[in-house]
Structures are given as C-alpha cells and as structure tokens.
Symmetry: C2
Subunit: 569 residues, 2 copies
Amino acid sequence: MKLEKLVGDRFRERPSDCVIDSHALMVRGGYMKYVANGIFSSYMPLKRVTRKIEQIIREEMDAIEGQEVQFPVVMPASLWQESGRYESIGQEMARFRDRSGSPLVLGMTHEEAAVHLVRDYGQSYTKYPFMVYQIQTKFRDEARPRAGLIRVREFTMKDAYSFHTSQADLEDYYRKCHRAYERIYARVGLPEVISVASDSGMMGGNISHEFMLLTPIGEDSIAICTECDYRANMEAAECIVHNRRNEAARNLTLVHTPGIHRIEDVCEFLHCEEKDSCKAVVYQRNSDDHYIVLFIRGDLEVNETKLTNYLGYDLHPAVITEESGLNAGYIGPVNLAGDFTILYDRSLEGMSHLSCGANVSGYHYTGLDMSRDIEGAEYHDFAKIQEGGVCPRCGRPAIRVCRGIEVGNIFQLGTKYTRSMNMTYIDSNGDARYPVMGCYGIGIGRLAASICQAHHDEHGPIWPLAVAPWQVHLCAVRADDDEVRAYADRLYEELRSKGVEVIYDDRRVSAGVMFSDADLIGAPFRVIVSPRNRKQNVVEILSRDKSLSASVSMDSAAEEILKILSAAM
Amino acid sequence: MKLEKLVGDRFRERPSDCVIDSHALMVRGGYMKYVANGIFSSYMPLKRVTRKIEQIIREEMDAIEGQEVQFPVVMPASLWQESGRYESIGQEMARFRDRSGSPLVLGMTHEEAAVHLVRDYGQSYTKYPFMVYQIQTKFRDEARPRAGLIRVREFTMKDAYSFHTSQADLEDYYRKCHRAYERIYARVGLPEVISVASDSGMMGGNISHEFMLLTPIGEDSIAICTECDYRANMEAAECIVHNRRNEAARNLTLVHTPGIHRIEDVCEFLHCEEKDSCKAVVYQRNSDDHYIVLFIRGDLEVNETKLTNYLGYDLHPAVITEESGLNAGYIGPVNLAGDFTILYDRSLEGMSHLSCGANVSGYHYTGLDMSRDIEGAEYHDFAKIQEGGVCPRCGRPAIRVCRGIEVGNIFQLGTKYTRSMNMTYIDSNGDARYPVMGCYGIGIGRLAASICQAHHDEHGPIWPLAVAPWQVHLCAVRADDDEVRAYADRLYEELRSKGVEVIYDDRRVSAGVMFSDADLIGAPFRVIVSPRNRKQNVVEILSRDKSLSASVSMDSAAEEILKILSAAM
C-alpha cells in the first residue's frame, strides 16, 4: 500500500473533544470518523487492526471447539418477549416496527438468538456440550458514549454461547474459555490484562468475570488485594468491616443541631468521627418513586449495584419532598415510621456510641446502640469496598482500588435463558432437563482502542506486531532522488513478494512530515531509505518502540527485515 | 471438525415453505434457520461458505486498489436528509428514534456514509481516484422476502464506492470493476454469470449493470439477443417496434360493443388482431391518486419501470371510480378529456386502422388513425420487450426472455451524491468541482444461495471447491471396527496437519445415513474408509459431482487426496 493513496487525513492538533489519548491518536491518525454520538466509521488502518484482532479471536474460539455462526442484527420482539428481556431491558435497546407493524429490536447481545438457533438441535444429552459464536455488529443505545471506541453505541463484538448438561461441565468449559481469553490478550499485545470477579448485571447468572486492562482512564473501578490474588470489580466486591462495639453504656441523647445536615458537619459539630455515625442514604424506586432508606456507617459509601441486586428493581437517588414524611438532613433509624423500605448495612451491626439523625428537623441523637435501640434490624452488605479496606479473601487490610477498561467478560448464565425460552434436552434417564449456559464476549473496537491506549507515545500508537495495520513502514526520504526511489521501489516489491505487509511512503514531502505520519500509523518497524544512507550503502531499520535501531547493508536489507520480523513474531 | 459435533439438524423431508431447491437444501442441510420474515441465522457450514466468498471478494477488491473500511449499520437521519433520500425512500428503510429522540435509520446502502467518510479527505484533485469498500450487514424492509437467502430483509453485502475527477476516469474504473466481478464469479464457481444493462432505480445515475445467474427460478427477467451480445434487464431494455402504417383510407367508426371490456374480447368481437388495437392502461400517482392514462399497442405490455422513470414519481395500477371521468373498459384516445396525464407508447406512432375505446360505455371505435385523429401526441418507449422482439443493438428479431437471479450490480452514479451532499475538490485550475462516483455491490448470502441453486442435485448442494464449507468429507463406515477407526483417525489427523479442511464422520450410523448427510454438506470430495475397503487395502475417493471415483492405496491415501485437491484448485 502506498501511503499517498491511503484514504483518511492525518494531522497534528489534538481534537478538543478527545478526552483520552487513544481516541485523540485514532482521530489524528485517520483511523476513524465520527458519524453520530457513539457511532463511527472506520478507515482502512483501523479496519486492518480489527480484522487481525478478529482473526486471533476466531482462532482461539475454534481451538476450544467453538463453531462460528451468525445471528441476526435485527430480531423480532417475540424472541425477547420469550426471555422476558423485552420488558426488563430499558432504553438501551433500540426498537422499531417494520412495514407490517411487527415490533423488531436491534441485537445488543444474543442469548435469545443463540437459544433459538440450537433449541431444536440440542434435544438429546448426547449433543452436549457445544459452543457457538459470532463476530457481528451490535447496537446498544448507551446514555453516555465516551472516549472514542471505548464506549460506543454501535460496536462489533465476538459473542459466544456454550451449552452444557451440568454446572460442573459449564465450569470446566468456563475455565477453558478463561484460558483462551488469556491467550487472546497475550496475542494481541495485552498480556497485562487481568480477570476480576464481576457483577452479572442484566445477563443473569451468578459467577462472572471481567477482563480488565488497568489504566487510569478506565471507567471501571477494581479492588485488588496487594497481599493475595483477590481481584474484583468494585460493583461486585464484598465490603468487609470489623465492627468494634464499645461496651461502655451510653444513653441515647437528643442534641440540637440547627441547620446542620451533612454528615461531615454533623460529626464536626458533635466532635465524633464519621465512622462513629449512622448515615441515611435515600433512594426511590424507578417505577413508582417508593422510598428506600438505607443506613450505613458514616465513612462508607453505598454500592448501588449491590443494593439494586438485593432489591431486584431499579432505583435512583431520592428527591425528598415535604410530603414524604422524611426529614431531609435529620433522618435516623430510631422511631422512623412511614411507607418506606428500611435497610441496614452490616457496617452498623452491633455498633454503639453512634450519632444519627433524630427524624426531627434540627435534632440528632448521640449514643445510638444498634442492638439496644433498633429492633429486628437485618444487616446486609451494601457498602463499597475502599482503598485500604479488608480483603474478602485473605482478610488483610490490603485492598487497592484501581481503574480499568473492561476488554472482555465471561458469564455462567445457568438456566436463566433455557428455562425462560423452554429449551430442554432428554438426559440419559429419559428425563427432560434445562441445559446450563455460559456466554463469553469481547468488544473488538474497544479492544483495539485499549491496545492503542496501552501502547502509545505522544506521537502515535505503537501497535504490537500481531495487530499492526502494517508490519513495516518504508520511507523513501527524498523520493525525487532517482536512485533512492529506484532502490526503495525494489525493496517495496521484494518485501511485498515475500508476504510482508508494507506501507510505502514515496511522497515528495519532508522527512519530518514522513516520520510524524509514520508515528501515527504506528507500524512496529520503520525502514528508511535516503540519500545519506545510500551513500553509506545502508538502510536504517528502527522499531516504533525505540528498542531497535540498526543500519543494515542495502544488499541484504530485505533479508534482515524478514529476520527481524520473524524474531518478533 | 467431527460431524458428530456439528450444531444443526439435517433431515430428509423438503420443508413445505421452501419454493426453490437451494432454500430447501440449505434448510435440510443445517445451513440456516428462520428467525423472522426475511431474517435468518446461519449455522457453521453456511458461515464457512460465506466467509470464503467474502475473502475472494476482498482479494479482488484489494486487487483493484480498494481500501476496506467500515460504515455504520445505524446512521443518523441527517445524513440521509442531506442526500434527499430520507424522504424519497419509502417503507423499505427502517427508521427509529434513540433515547434522546434523534431519528436514526438502518443502512440499506451506504452512498451517504461513503461521501461522509471521504468528504474531508478528497478536497484536492491529487487525491483521486480512490475506492473504499466494506462487507457489512444491512437491513431493507422488503415487502416480499422470498426464496430463502435470495430475497431477505437482513443481508450481508460487499458495497464499494469509487470517486473520480472525470466521467472518463469513472468509466475506466467501472470497466476494471466489471472485470473484477467476472473474476469473482468465476472463482466462486459461477463463471456462467453474465452482465446485463440495468435500470438504476433509486441509486440514481445512468449507466449500470447487473450480474445475472440465469435460472428459471430467478425473479428478474432478462432480454438476451441470440444474434449479438445485447443483454439487458427487462426493466431497462428498449422495446423496438416497426410500426407498419396502412395507408388505405378508413374512417373512424363508432361500433356498439355492449359489455365487452377486455382488449382480447374487443378484438375478437371486432375481428381484428390485438396488435391492431390501441389499449389504455391506467395508473394512479401514489401521492395523490392523480390518474395517468397510457395508450399502447394492444399486444404489448407496459414496462412500469420506464413509466416511473419518465414520470419521476411512484404510481400504482388505478382503481377507476365513477367520479374519475373515465369509462373503464371503453377508454380511448379520441376526445378523452379530464384531469389526467395522457401518454402514448411509441408502438402507436403513425399507426392507422386501429380499434380503441370510444370513452362511452358500450362503444368502441374502429379505423383510428393516430396521425389524423390524435393531435400533438408525443410518443415514448413505455413497452416491455418481448420474446422474439427486435434487438435494440443488431436490429434482428432475436430477443429471448430469460429469468435470472441478480448476484451483483455496478452503477455509474455521476455527481448525484457528491452534489447533494456538497462534496467538492479543487481541480488543477483551482476551481471547485463535484467528484464523480461509482458504486458496486454484491450480496454475500444471495450469492451463496445462487451457487447452491446452480450446483446441486436432489440430494444436496455440490459446492465448488473454493467455497465449500469443507474440502473433504471423510466417512469411517463401521467406525465400531477398531482398525477402520484407527486408520480413519490417523488419516483425519494427517489431512488436517497438511491444511486440508476435513469434516470427519465417525458416528456409529449406517452408511446410508452417512452418505445422505455427506450429500447435504456437499464437500467436493468424499473419502470412504470401510471394512470392505480395508480388506482390499484401499480407500475410496469420490467427487460430489460424480466426475471422479477412485480407489487408492491406504498407504498413499493422504498424498493422493492432496494431489486431487491441488489439481482441482
């Protein structure tokens, strides 16, 4: 490919709407073009990167007996009504009607389509296990697309679905797939990706893992133990608290706290620490604005994912009205009455000497003793794990909180979909049973952007060889010099004939323009033919990551390049 | 791949809803599964066929300097409003609103997206020509999906868009692309595909060609001259008529024809031939039901595509009401008055001695002389070319009408999209100009189905080697025989290790079941290991198309198979 013919503009200025480096570089390098919020077109360099990623994924899925299939992008609503998700999924699913008025949806995931495809086939236990996968475009109407290809509305994804006759067999396959994912990330140049326990969200099922690239620009928070191998998404991480009860008797005492609402102000006023207070956090149910009052230790934050999972419905932070019966700023667990759901985080269990609201404007209590003053409270884990918190696995206070990009996920779905969609098989005893499912996803565009995010400098991406749009960037500096051009043309043809993927820059532009374009295209190896090099009968070979800088004889340049490439593979 | 693990059912019964053989065989063979009207999932065998077709197309597009890119499936309405097609395309375009209420569409073609992608890049004449293409899923809400993958609503398509600074350069590239298409059809096993001149329809532009597989089950009609190389879609074929005027004087005479409406009954009653009558065909404009009355020679039919193109709006066959001012069954060109658009096909130009309606119920005229009786008539070509008709190229009455499946199309679009979307470049004189565009499409699924339609017998598809899901179908007949199994296992591994794509049937089923499954999977070569063959120390090799049947020594079987494959490639 001649660079001169490559469609797409490259430029120096960082676009003002690009928050993260990979997005800025992929716009500056002519990889992608904005079409609408969260919707992009790809130019050739990005298409080449994503096709290589897809091929690596395909090989690894095939290696674990996956069968590549294709599900539709557009599906009838009836398929999603079978599973119940037509109703349970909200605005993120695009819906429309066809010319006959039948409701259709755009696929954002394909559990329903997978069950539909194999429901007739999988009627006997002898057919199991099996896995089908596809690489296909999906649409999810995200509320807040961001960071270029990291969070988009239209995306290409590899999604795989496995079917089993037992949980044990699913777990066995799940481990196989976990290892396949590790190989995939290693092959695309991200061996540093880690897996973390995650919340299963709308997918259902219990056990699931996310594969995370740790990076400060990630939108997920991950709890990692520095003392053991515990790793979990914050959403799923258990918060361990060691409640130290103060046994000295102290009475519940009403204190006038006029105009003091916020927990930090209350504690300052009462000369206590936030961890010695009982804070109220109030939500409302989305469907009918019913109030949920959650009490939690004053220094902790609520993990809304745990709360939603516990309640089984969606909620939002409350707007506390006068009619609600709640005294905003003064809500406490003593004598709180009304049509509320009241919940207690286990950080409060057995605690004493706490301050809390008194449910009267301008008043708080001190000396709250949960065991003595609050009858019949049940305590659950609703708290966010914290930096320095206790590891749920090894028990040491060694939790670090990091940011990460989720570059893949795997779920043990159980029988959620086979049961709701009535897929059964006959087992060896002649009994009808529901197959157990797993599902396994990787977003291709997000992975490409993550590779760029992990491997770049201020000048451009530093693509790993396995996914680089081209392997070699050949620069003919001063292509107006006949001998430079003649040699570079020959070298280009020779490398191409040997199967090397070369982008060839023979434009009559300055070396500066050439090199900054080469930086943006990010091929792992750059080969420079120039009048000065020619005088010394050499060709320069540089690696994009600066680990290699060599001059080789013009006569053996092609051979040397092939050696370097084969060593790097 | 072991056949036992292949997801998908194969069965003998022809599904009652399958009208054409390829559809029936692809359902019976476990290639595809119905999801909704015109929407299918693909199992692994079909996915393997389509991926091979895609790769062949990709190679040929790359060979004519195409750059693979990707456009979105979901696009903002604004992009289609720019070109004017948001309004001009009807129900076939799926439309919906996102969570913020913004109107979106599903791409059914990507001219707008292509212009959007390259509009900034192509600002100087020095960047031209260039071509970008994608292979992507599209959705078109067809009113009448039919014949399995032949006419669907969701489909995967290769669509390419080229940009040029002159019509001459476009034509040059158009010819290159035409040749690339010929190579594609030859490589996928359909060298018999022909190109025919076509109507450009909603794409705009003037010159276009369709690539047709001639087959009685095709939904397109094609006019082919048996004496020269003229070939055109019926929709686009000019209808040549040699009007032979009878100069003998004859008066316009009113004849009582009570209750006689249809042209054939009128002609029988009046003892004249249909070709000596002037027939009225009435349409209504879709937007407001305005009447269009078209007069044409009684033996000819109206080509509605030509009529629509001439009028520039969509229409439908008329419902003639009492209030219309038209006398259904008695409409004629003499003294026809009212708020109608009146058109004349050129088959009537200068004709005399015609019978026609008298615009009075129960009466016709004889002796109509168009030149004498109809003033100011303009004649245009609105007629369908007919079997035995005159070739527009060589002038001989040698037209044959055939049926065909359109398996690709190429269009010279001109500046329709660049002009409406305001894409300009600066030419070498410093003037701003609109680039000239071409576009080039191939539907992947339809091509796969067409290959199956062209190459099958009653037992299954006979896939050409280049697109077959597997190259070799290895049958271990009596796999319960330890030696048969051991040998077949070894042969399977040996072939696989040499890169041969093998589907291996080692199930304990009868040879009959094995062979009928192999027929449905349609691998070009079948290799049979059996106790009887083993006794003779041979392996049988049969080609699916029955052209080859050989017994080779067990010791050299792998080698012989490789030889046969490489000879067939």
